[in-house]
């Protein structure tokens, strides 16, 4: 299966690429909006800062392509910053609008914890609609900003949460599993991450 990774320049793609290759996929990168809109399975990867990444997407028209493909329920995976870009905005880059696919603002961790959050944290599905049988596990995080969890957040999405200075959204998925956004790095999350990527691929293949 061919995976199309959105090129955002700052992102380090090698880990994502290697993880999908281990699952038998081929990888291509693109910054062409038509390709992003139509590709079978798209990954929006996750390293760098919110503002520069969002500006780059907008300059190339990829923001519109991503919104359109998600509105059409085409398989899309956002990782770390890639998940935050789906929100309305981020405290990391005030005044820069995100894709706005999910209502909410990424804010810096509070509650006296060390920032960045660096390491493995337990994640757990909050509701019965989580699309895959693996409903909890340890996932690898490397982030300073997150979407705090509050009841009613992420309406229309099934959510995994985790705890770090309070509850936050670790992952969210559409109930058919086609659109998945992870605050953690599934490509670096060992066996748990591999099973989640395999689950998303299974949906993307259909």
């Amino acid at each position: 299966m061919l995976i199309t990774v959105v090129e955002t320049n700052a992102a380090n793609l090698a880990s994502v690429q290697a993880a999908f290759e281990r699952l038998g996929c081929d990888i291509r990168t693109t910054s062409d909006p038509a390709t992003v809109r139509e590709a079978r399975a798209v990954v929006l990867p996750g390293v760098g800062a919110f503002g520069p990444a969002m500006r780059l997407l907008r300059e190339r028209g990829i923001d519109i392509a991503l919104r359109e493909r998600m509105a059409a329920s085409r398989p899309t995976l956002g990782i770390c910053l890639g998940m935050q870009l789906m929100l309305d905005s981020s405290e990391e880059s005030n005044g820069v609008p995100g894709l706005g696919v999910v209502a909410g603002v990424a804010r810096r961790f509070t509650g006296g914890v060390r920032v960045p959050q660096m390491g493995w944290n337990e994640v757990r599905a909050r509701d019965a609609a989580w699309p895959w049988s693996v409903r909890c596990g340890d996932a690898y995080f490397a982030n300073s900003y997150r979407l705090a969890w509050e009841s009613g957040a992420c309406a229309g999405w099934s959510v995994m949460t985790s705890e770090y200075g309070g509850a936050f959204v670790a992952a969210m998925a559409k109930s058919d599993g086609g659109i998945l956004a992870c605050q953690f790095h599934p490509e670096l999350s060992g066996a748990f991450g591999r099973s989640l990527l395999a689950g998303w691929l299974e949906v993307a293949r259909c």
Partner: protein, 256 residues
């Protein structure tokens, strides 16, 4: 809740893993990709690779090692040794590193950390600090160039500056304890942890679960081990089980 990490460290020279005592007498301990794969299977939370050859000519082989590791590893990979510029860091990240550890170059010029954090994000930027106790007991001095040169910096003071400039994590090695199995320098760890709010990795001297646990209690978010793994004295799994038995929160699922 965030778990504490056990990090397996590979000192690599010319595509082979080597390990010494107090930064000297390097011994050959095996193939990096084979060892790293074994450590991941045993439950290592992260792999750190330090290129200890650190000459310009050998940089190409370090990149080849990183590529080989990336193909097989499904856990985070930090790479350091001889990183002097943003371009050096970019080459390692492109090859498959998730984080880059900087040592001598940012001790000489802390602003390098700021440029790296702006370009790659601070979660990619690890400041490695090699600290040596002053003979008069008045603290620790930062050493550079694989421990061969003493800088002007006090280790605790420099830790604060590195974190403020853009390091997202500190890898703190006690040169006095490195390779000795005498336990981490918990006084050093405690002093640095009080100064910074970024995560700190304890390195140098850890061999038993009790010593690893002491470092966590001194505020370290992660403990780094090398010699004990390479010489077969213990395994990643045994150390993590030992830590868990001491009440330390660890990730215990194993890679499939």
């Amino acid at each position: 809740m965030l778990k504490n990490r056990l990090i397996a460290c590979l000192d690599v020279r010319d595509e082979r893993v080597v390990k010494g005592v107090r930064f000297e007498n390097l011994r050959d301990s095996g193939d990096p990709a084979a060892l790293a794969t074994r450590y991941e299977a045993e439950g290592a939370d992260e792999i750190v690779v330090l290129d200890v050859s650190a000459t310009r000519e050998s940089r190409g082989t370090a990149i080849a090692t990183v590529r080989a590791l990336r193909r097989v590893l499904g856990i985070p990979l930090t790479v350091g040794g001889g990183v002097r510029s943003e371009d050096d860091a970019a080459a390692l990240l492109d090859a498959g590193a998730d984080k880059v550890a900087i040592n001598s170059a940012s001790v000489a010029e802390p602003a390098l950390l700021t440029r790296l954090a702006e370009r790659f994000g601070r979660q990619c930027v690890v400041q490695a600090i090699d600290a040596k106790r002053r003979a008069d007991g008045s603290g620790w001095r930062v050493c550079t160039h694989a421990g061969t040169q003493a800088s002007m910096w006090d280790a605790v003071e420099f830790a604060g500056i590195a974190a403020a400039c853009g390091a997202g994590e500190l890898l703190v090695t006690s040169m006095d304890r490195d390779g000795t199995g005498a336990g981490y320098d918990t006084e050093l760890l405690r002093a640095i942890n009080e100064r910074v709010d970024v995560p700190v990795i304890a390195s140098g001297g850890g061999r038993t679960p009790a010593q690893l646990s002491d470092a966590i209690h001194a505020g370290a978010s992660a403990v780094l081990v090398a010699s004990i793994l390479h010489d077969g004295g213990s395994s990643v799994g045994e150390l993590k089980q030992g830590l868990a038995a001491l009440g330390i929160s660890m990730r215990l699922e194993r890679a499939a």
